[in-house]
């Protein structure tokens, strides 16, 4: 027996969007630089916490709780996903190219920047998908 896929969006509270505040933990990635302990390589991994900014998207997803996913909703979801992913990939690519060329960063700074940008781009992509979908659904 195959599981029937729900025709409606999941029901969640917009208040869950507050979890996006966890993204600010990513600022802790600057601590090794401030306290001059940059020789310990794994420390900038705190920058990955920027990905939690994506949880701000729960606010918009919550507002669209239990919505019938008809063809217009799906078309808007694909459109939002395409724009969000394009934006995130451009950000990653730009950071990677700039860090190797114009910025001429040292290896540690380059690593920190790329980890931060990866986390931020992931969070931004998740957030933008929900935000843009909400905008497209409610535009006049």
């Amino acid at each position: 027996m195959t599981k029937q896929k729900s025709q409606y969006t999941r029901t969640i509270s917009p208040k869950l969007g507050i979890l996006g505040i966890l993204g600010f933990v990513g600022v802790a990635g600057f601590l090794p630089k401030i306290y001059h302990i940059t020789e310990i390589l794994p420390t900038p991994t705190f920058f990955f916490f920027f990905a939690f900014f994506g949880f701000f998207g729960f606010y918009y997803e919550g507002k669209m709780s239990h919505t019938l996913m008809d063809e217009r909703f799906q078309a808007n979801a694909y459109r939002a996903m395409a724009i969000a992913n394009k934006f995130a990939l451009t950000l990653i690519l730009a950071a990677a190219i700039l860090s190797m060329s114009v910025l001429r960063l040292e290896a540690y700074d380059m690593l920190a920047l790329l980890i931060a940008v990866l986390g931020l781009a992931f969070g931004l992509s998740i957030f933008l998908q929900q935000y843009l979908l909400y905008r497209f659904e409610n535009e006049e």
Binding site: T67, L68, D70, E71, R72, F73, E137
Partner: protein
């Protein structure tokens, strides 16, 4: 999105259906019907056929595309 003219409101009213009733019959949200009536959403062929059957009018009369 190609520009088109929508006569859905006229044919829906002729069929004696509310937006909500039509939405339920064709399996979409009322908001989608609203956007179809003001030609702000280009429906798929399946939805257009379902609407045509629900209101009892030909597709080309409900959605008029410039040739």
């Amino acid at each position: 999105m190609p520009d088109f003219e929508s006569n859905l409101k006229k044919y829906r009213q002729l069929a004696g259906l509310t937006q909500e009733e039509l939405a339920q019959r064709v399996g979409v949200r009322r908001e989608t019907i609203v956007r179809l009536e003001v030609a702000k959403y280009n429906p798929s062929l399946k939805l257009a056929v379902d609407i045509s059957r629900a209101v009892g009018a030909p597709i080309e009369e409900i959605f008029v595309f410039e040739s």
